[in-house]
Symmetry: C2
Subunit: 168 residues, 2 copies
């Protein structure tokens, strides 16, 4: 199911891209500078909007890279505008687009480590379910929440995107 869930990450990143358009349009309709959103946050010791978007991108690309062994694009965290954040999102979507179901075949048994884990490791399976999955949705939901809290007219359909509904 790794491949299918990364497909969902890709879809969610596409929705996030559209929320940035909605934020830009909203700012223009109220005659304020759209990049004001970059520095907004829900609590003084939480990430800003731009950092939430960066973390959403990084969680998806780092998880895909750790679970497939395929090198991810690097992003130096220098985005200063919504348009630059959109370029980062699209770069991660393009990277994920290049991965196949076959690339994820050995994911569950890979060994994952991070500097903050002080020498400890996790299996690919545990890392994906306990860390990557909740973190990806945490940061994308916080990105959404910051926009909603500040008046941007996005709704649950914009969060989920189109569903694969079929005739019964």
């Amino acid at each position: 199911m790794y491949y299918e869930i990364f497909g969902q990450f890709k879809k969610s990143l596409g929705q996030l891209d559209k929320w940035l358009d909605a934020a830009t349009t909203f700012a223009q309709s109220r005659s304020f500078e759209p990049n004001v959103f970059m520095g907004l946050r829900l609590a003084p010791d939480q990430f800003t909007f731009s950092r939430q978007v960066q973390a959403t991108c990084d969680t998806a690309k780092a998880a895909a890279s750790r679970l497939t062994g395929k090198e991810a694009p690097t992003h130096p965290d220098t985005e200063a505008t919504l348009a630059e954040l959109q370029a980062r999102i699209r770069s991660v979507v393009a990277y994920l687009d290049g991965l196949s179901a076959k690339d994820f075949e050995a994911s569950a048994s890979r060994v994952v480590s991070q500097p903050r884990w002080e020498g400890k490791v996790m299996s690919g399976a545990d890392y994906f379910v306990e860390h990557a999955l909740p973190n990806f949705f945490f940061h994308i939901s916080h990105s959404y929440a910051i926009l909603r809290h500040n008046g941007v007219p996005v709704g649950k359909r914009d969060y989920l995107g189109a569903l694969s509904l079929k005739a019964p």
Copy 2:
């Protein structure tokens, strides 16, 4: 992977239960009524905190029920206190505890429908990845965000809970 991800839902619900304790302690330390949190929200047309917690519970239990065919507990949405929300969370955790990996064996090929889909259906696989998974983390992240926005001292470790770290 259904069973493993429902294991994560269960773990996340356990963390949510602890955030309600943290909210109660925080309110007492500031001498305000803890149940004030029930009605807080990030935007006037978003769910209140209590509704976000209810939706987190409902997403997990409805998804588990649709994917296993095992009837879920009902909750009439009458909670008026944080303690009552905690009872709901624990009821869902107990329900999920009763499900085995075998119960999820036919999940991918089940047919799922909802009244709002106007006669259309989704496969269990599509429903889980496109709907249940993003919705669960949406509502639990918004529950967290409302508490953080209002000063409750919870952090990323409280969101993720303990990780299955091992010696290399």
